[in-house]
């Protein structure tokens, strides 16, 4: 029992640190898109040996926050933190608590989604806090000390990493609590209801959000055409 709990904490800490490190890519460092849910969740899944589950989950989370764009000074909901929280909680549940089915994924998304908005609040706080770095940069310029200026971005990244990792850890704890408490108590009708949420509501909402990123009316018609083509193409190929 104690060993199992220690393993859970160790895996949780690993996912928190990796999630926190990848989250830096969202704004502070590189921006090569490894912080996107589509990549981040499968990376966590690889660490936990559950690539297949994480690929689907990452894709659905990616669709849900597809319109979350950092444009100018705007601060959108932090989809990376939500993805880290949801992905890590589902993977930990699958490794230590039980089978990951559609109700588990749906519950995790519902419990973890608010962390995107808490992440947004954290981003605003961090940017306000960075004003201190701006003042220190001015001092470095007045003193003519390039080294003092050169270490400020590292300080900014360290702050972001610590704050976001702490939020991811808290998010995983809350989401795991919801999964462990709620999932075993669900009766068959509730399981069916959450399956419907997982199979219909989440993908439909993801697709609707993705459609809002398409800015051409004719592109939407192409969407409808390709949807029908794929759907009936699959059935035709299967001889239905």
């Amino acid at each position: 029992m104690v060993t199992a709990s220690l393993d859970l904490v160790r895996d949780g800490a690993l996912l928190t640190l990796v999630g926190g490190a990848l989250a830096l890519d969202r704004r502070g460092a590189f921006q090569v898109m490894v912080s996107q849910p589509l990549v981040l969740v499968p990376v966590l899944g690889l660490l936990m040996g559950q690539l297949e589950t994480s690929l689907w989950l990452g894709a659905v989370i990616q669709l849900l926050w597809m319109s979350s764009l950092i444009v100018g000074a705007s601060v959108p909901p932090n989809e990376t933190l939500a993805a880290a929280v949801i992905g890590a909680a589902v993977l930990l549940y699958g490794r230590h608590c039980g089978v990951v089915d559609e109700p588990v994924s749906a519950l995790a998304v519902l419990a973890g989604a608010p962390f995107a908005w808490i992440g947004r609040w954290l981003d605003i706080r961090l940017e306000r806090g960075n004003l201190d770095l701006c003042i220190r940069a001015d001092e470095a310029a007045r003193a003519g000390t390039p080294f003092a200026l050169a270490r400020l971005p590292a300080l900014g990244l360290l702050r972001t990493f610590l704050a976001e990792s702490a939020l991811i850890a808290a998010g995983i704890a809350v989401t795991m609590f919801v999964l462990v408490v709620v999932r075993p108590r669900l009766g068959t009708p509730e399981v069916k209801a959450f399956e419907a949420v997982g199979f219909y509501v989440l993908p439909a909402l993801g697709l609707a959000v993705a459609m809002t990123t398409v800015r051409r009316r004719r592109a939407l018609l192409l969407s409808a055409g390709s949807f029908l083509f794929v759907l009936f193409g699959i059935r035709f190929l299967e001889g239905k």
């Binding site: 090569v32 908005w117 960075n130 004003l131 001015d138 310029a141 003519g144 997982g198 592109a219 699959i234």
Partner: protein, 275 residues
């Protein structure tokens, strides 16, 4: 003498024409990947810009001139992080010119202030609003088709444009100076951006088709073509609500509650699902 009257102190007395080398430019490129690490609400990306250009400044200036140069690049700056490399390259060239007495501080400041807005607009519309949704929906369609390496396609496709533009922008910016934007406009990112919306539209449709197919095979399947009708109806209703500024989180919880209430409510009147 500098244009503002201060005496310039060349970094090396042997340098008649102060220049930064290729290695220095590579250091500027590397640092530009941390451009937004100290972003703040007062002067936005100013620390990132000064940090990125610092290797060039320390090559060109010493003493008071270095202090002035550092302070010059700590002014307000806000642009798209990928497009900034072109601005950085051009600014390094202008700093060389300033060190050689061929331009003025004011010209560098006004160049940055004038160009950061248009560059941000191009970068935002191409990378954030077009390429990212296109690459992501393509990879999502791949995942729904059971292609396990689809996320790698997303990374490769996105970064092909991202890294190429960064490297090309910095070096062509350095070569062409203020005229770099004539070169960037020739690439016509706007046209790329326009086309990527159509590709994204196709990928969303493909993803939808694959999702319906997946739902048809699930334990929650309703049978026949009900999945397709249900999913299309849900997507269209949600799309209309999103366009009317209802946020995603409200739709997520709202439709979940509706779904739970419908299934559990119906089941209490007509108990089809046994406990």
């Amino acid at each position: 003498m500098s244009a503002t009257g201060a005496v310039l102190t060349p970094a090396s007395p042997a340098d008649a024409e102060p220049r930064v080398g290729r290695l220095t430019l590579l250091r500027v490129l590397w640092r530009s990947f941390f451009f937004q690490s100290a972003c703040n609400y007062e002067r936005m990306q100013n620390v990132g810009f000064a940090f990125s250009i610092l290797p060039a400044l320390t090559r060109l200036y010493r003493g008071e001139d270095l202090k002035r140069a550092m302070a010059r690049h700590l002014e307000f700056f806000n642009s798209h992080p990928y497009m900034t490399d072109a601005l950085l390259g051009a600014t390094v060239r202008m700093e060389e010119d300033l060190a050689a007495g061929r331009t003025t501080e004011d010209r560098i400041l006004s160049f940055k202030a004038t160009m950061m807005g248009p560059m941000a607009a191009i970068g935002d519309s191409f990378f954030w609003a077009s390429l990212k949704p296109f690459a992501a929906t393509l990879a999502v369609a791949g995942v729904f088709s059971d292609v396990s390496w689809a996320p790698l396609v997303f990374l490769a496709l996105y970064n092909l444009f991202h890294l190429t533009l960064r490297i090309y922008g910095l070096f062509s910016g350095y070569q062409m100076g203020e005229r770099v934007f004539e070169k960037l406009y020739q690439i016509d990112l706007v046209q790329f951006s326009d086309r990527s919306h159509y590709f994204a539209g196709v990928c969303i449709g493909v993803s939808g088709g694959l999702l319906v197919d997946h739902a048809t095979r699930s334990e929650a399947a309703l049978g026949q073509n009900l999945e397709a009708v249900l999913l299309i109806a849900l997507v269209l209703i949600m799309f209309q609500l999103l366009k009317r500024k209802v946020t995603m989180i409200w739709l997520l919880y709202g439709f979940t509650l509706l779904c739970l209430a419908m299934i559990l409510g119906l089941n209490s009147f007509f108990p089809l699902i046994e406990r």
